[in-house]
Symmetry: C2
């Protein structure tokens, strides 16, 4: 694969915005990124979480329809869509990446269809663990309660209450800052 220009972004920086031109496919090399849209009522809806190795979007032409923001300092490489698709290997690679995104998006749908706040957050935690890597049982979420609320469709208060409850029940134990230890039986 050919070299691609790499750009660095600080925490909270906008990597791209809705309406930006596609064409160059951004691949996340390090850090964590959220993708979101702005709903009619002004609320943010998080669409996806991306970790190292993930492509942020697949708009080979036309405009991007969502925003990408850095959760942590991160590096992004831009690949020319045309170059990738020119080789069979590149095309297959792209298909696999896209397929993984699709599966992830469906997990997100499944999360949102859970009724209770506890179940939603439990499912979210599992997905976040998969997306952002990290040790088994260790959870490091570079997200605010508001972010989690936007992802799960809850309010930040509901998120807070649930996490606090989990701490009380010793399902979660705060290790340091935003990192927590997940007890064996995290499901519910």
């Amino acid at each position: 694969m050919t070299m691609a220009p790499v750009k660095s972004f600080a925490k909270k920086a906008t990597i791209y915005a809705a309406g930006d031109a596609g064409g160059a496919l951004p691949k996340l090399l390090s850090g964590a990124v959220i993708l979101f849209t702005i709903l009619a009522d002004g609320r943010r809806q998080m669409l996806d979480l991306a970790g190292p190795g993930d492509f942020l979007h697949f708009e080979t032409d036309g405009e991007v329809d969502h925003y990408a923001e850095a959760l942590t300092p991160c590096e992004v490489a831009s690949f020319k869509a045309a170059e990738l698709m020119a080789t069979p290997d590149g095309a297959v690679f792209l298909l696999e990446q896209m397929h993984d995104r699709l599966v992830l998006e469906r997990r997100h749908v499944a999360i949102l269809s859970q009724k209770g706040a506890g179940e939603r957050l439990a499912a979210f935690v599992r997905l976040a663990a998969d997306c952002l890597g990290g040790e088994a049982g260790r959870l490091d979420l570079p997200l605010t309660r508001q972010h989690i609320a936007d992802f799960t469709g809850l309010t930040l208060e509901a998120v807070s209450r649930t996490f606090v409850q989990w701490e009380r029940d010793a399902v979660l134990t705060k290790v340091r800052g935003r990192t927590s230890q997940v007890s064996e039986r995290s499901a519910a």
Copy 2:
């Protein structure tokens, strides 16, 4: 593109089930299909709606992770994944199809993140209209209230009440059977 075997399915027939082998990519030629998973608690979660022209899944290898059921009588053609990917045109085509699915899935996420029942259903109706084609302003949903509930994460009673309310408010007018006329100002 090479010829592909075509199979017909009756209403309510299972087109494929979770655990079935992938490899052959099923493309819907006519009719309407729902994709869903079974959640831990036994509830169905609808993942997607497919109309004519849509691929039902993109599992080039491994197993499918969801179910596909015919909403109406329909025809499905199976394409060998390997054949499609062999040609650049085929690969590009597949990428576009997959991309469209991804966009749709994100709309689904946006639907589920709406707070109120009314807003969710409004968003759902818009998506369904896009997925299943049909005249502008005309809505023909081959779905039961239960299906819609499973898609939107509501209960069938909530769905029913909302639709009834919309009829009262003359936002929707039943034309015949499951077809309705949508008034101009459907948003809210």
